[in-house]
Subunit: 445 residues, 2 copies
């Protein structure tokens, strides 16, 4: 076994040093894996991933297999692919899908611009699907486009929240031990029933763990195990770590994973996944304004109010919009100050459309206007309203959710505070729910 | 053991007949349990329930113990109490809470009008809390207000979706076998680690089950088990069925439960629970109208559109409003036809406030007005708008979420269809999200 990462006295030492990586350490190790380390004389393992995605999802109680169920209108498996493909040191991702779903999967890859994905046909069981994925990676297959990796990750299509951190840990441990897998504490006690449906015995919860994904293996180890294993294993087995133990005598290293590794199994898990994704993309709001000098403007006061009221959210000023779009902010409050119509909003929408930001997630844009009931004729505002409905319909096609917000702008300071606070509440509500049924509405604060 | 339910040749036969009850069978058996059967000569067991609720919720990653986390602003434990107290044949519910949370728990019981609940102080572990609950039910305790049940249900405060069906099954099986508990298939393979953190062996998934709640016991069995069990059991044990086996040699009957029995453990489970609850209370919409004769009115066409567009929802006409409120419909669309202001809505709001319907769940009221842009001056409509904001603030205090909806009413038939369809979409969105940040808004279709 080669020495990896560099500076370690041996594989065991290497493993010990890499356990529990965080932050800067993680970045450094990831760059080693991505090849930067190779120049320093070490050998980063070539890593590929196999995703069995041939399941029928009968536990979900819905006709669509769970990996294809939509979350914010995008299939679950696309989130999992996104989680894997953003890890620079994973070179190839092989997805095993049924012949029936092959075309749908190709469309998903194209529509959401996934890169480095190869498709193989799944088998009738999970193990057979994984085996098909491994065969595609093995060099001994004819017409193989893929190159054999040193380490292969096996993950589930229905675990979209896997982080680079745990992927790095299982790969590092697999390189050292031959096999590694993520585990979690048991939530329920596990029991063994007798044949008559009564309790035979219960297992001590503290001495057992749930085996989760991702897992990683030296490719030769797991491929050998699959080549040797029995039809019974392929039909009824559920655990890759078990195959490595039984057929290659490799005792897998177990890695404590985070709660995020859970598997989307039931309908309630889809609800949970949607809420988590909505929460994650609602952490940052960018406030765009066409007035830069006039710091006294009420638009700035709205920005201040957002900062005060939404203290779990990062409120950014939209001075360098291109940069903020690059940083993947999915929420924009566009304050129209100098113009009474939607000129500023239109500029922002054009920029967003060009950026492709909304390919993966719906982007919320809230176009804010200030309204002094006593001095502005309402008829004119209503024309704006009709205009925003048309805009909203148009940009919805590109996954942008546009809402209008009229903030009442009274002379009385206390009333103004109240309007701004309600404006912040409405903005928070729209961003949190991301409800496409309410696009084009003009809300009043 | 007595023969229960009646007509069975013996306890085993009785158990066999009761397994797999559904619908009418369930209603019949429940009425037996509630005592109606006693007149026919059988003996329904006296049933109580114990809920350990002393946990700290450290797995949730939030400071509030999970049983007190709010879902739609109501603590999780209140949903669980509601699920148990609607079962007529459960006589007493004993909840074990920490001294610290005793006052909060009393407030919850008062505010949500829970009946038949007794509080005891929890112990430092789950088993000690359950034991304290059992002691309160045992007749040998001084000053005991409660009577000793024949069968005791043990349930978790954080499993709010328990159905009468499974409660009846575990109670019936407990009466026959002495102990019974709900089980579920394992979602993940269970493994046993070695001391060095590597895989020792994995368990065959098909031969094991997750032990869930509810469980039920003959009171004398489980009380005896707790009285005899060791301090080690009380400190580190997790499984009541295990205690009944170890100390009373009772092999619990295992009952396959539904996925609904899952335990709210992580933050994602709170998200899932909220979505499930929102979905459950959004299954019915009542359309209230002040015109009864004029079937041609556009209000009726909106009702038709709701029926066509929201085909998973039951759309009811509000002819017998008192009855519909009694049947626990939580969504109202109030069409103001004869009056241009909110007279009809105001009547509905008064009725809802008197009914106490909104004590347990937020009730959505959408006040609909029709608007012909070409003939009605908008200023007058705006005054209505201001009015609804004040109404909404006022009724929010009583957990009623009021929104306004202006439906554009053009002469052109196709455009009218489009308006009505968009109205239905907006109504669906408001009911689904139940977002209090948007109350008092006047949406336009």
């Amino acid at each position: 076994m080669e020495s990896w990462p560099p500076g370690a006295s041996g594989p065991t030492e290497a493993g010990r040093r890499l356990r529990g990586l965080r932050g800067a350490d993680l970045a450094a190790s990831a760059s080693l894996l991505s090849g930067a380390g190779a120049e320093a004389g070490c050998s980063a393992p070539a890593v590929a991933a196999v995703l069995p995605a041939g399941g029928s999802g009968e536990r979900m109680g819905v006709p669509t297999p769970k990996q294809f169920c939509p979350i914010l209108e995008r299939p679950l498996i696309s989130y999992t692919l996104q989680a894997l493909e953003r890890v620079s040191w994973i070179k190839d991702i092989v997805v095993a899908v049924t012949g029936e779903n092959m075309e749908a999967m190709k469309c998903i890859i194209q529509r959401y611009q996934h890169k480095g994905i190869s498709l193989v046909e799944s088998g009738v069981t999970r193990h057979r699907s994984i085996f098909n994925g491994l065969k595609a990676l093995a060099e001994d297959q004819p017409n193989c486009r893929l190159s054999k990796p040193e380490v292969v990750i096996i993950h589930d299509a229905v675990r979209p929240f896997v982080e680079e951190d745990v992927l790095l840990k299982v790969v590092t441990a697999a390189k050292e031990h031959g096999a590694a897998g993520a585990i979690r504490p048991l939530v329920s006690t596990v029991i063994s029933p007798s044949v008559d449906g009564c309790l035979d015995h219960s297992l001590e919860r503290a001495r057992h763990r749930a085996s989760e994904m991702p897992q990683a293996f030296l490719f030769d180890v797991i491929y050998e195990a699959y080549q040797q294993c029995s039809d019974y294993d392929l039909e009824f087995g559920t655990e890759c770590l078990h195959l490595a133990l039984k057929y290659c005598h490799i005792k897998a290293k177990l890695i404590e994973g985070s709660p995020d590794l859970w598997k989307v199994t039931y309908k309630r898990d889809l609800y949970a996944a949607e809420s988590i994704i909505k929460e994650r993309i609602s952490q940052q709001i960018c406030v765009v304004m066409d007035t830069k000098e006039d710091e006294e403007h009420v638009g700035h006061r709205l920005e201040e109010m957002l900062k005060n009221e939404l203290n779990h959210v990062k409120v950014t000023s939209g001075r360098d919009l291109q940069q903020i779009i690059l940083e993947q902010c999915y929420n924009f409050v566009c304050v129209n100050v100098m113009t009474s119509d939607f000129e500023e909003t239109q500029k922002l929408l054009n920029m967003l459309e060009e950026s492709n930001l909304s390919i993966l997630y719906p982007v919320v844009v809230i176009s804010v206007q200030f309204l002094d009931y006593e001095s502005v004729p309402f008829g004119q505002k209503m024309e704006n309203l009709m205009q925003i409905r048309e805009f909203a319909k148009e940009v919805k096609k590109r996954n942008i959710l546009l809402y209008g917000l009229l903030v009442y702008y009274p002379q009385d300071e206390q009333k103004l505070q109240e309007s701004l606070r309600q404006g912040a509440t409405i903005i928070a509500a729209l961003i949190k729910e991301r409800n496409s049924g309410l696009i084009g509405q003009l809300l009043v604060a």
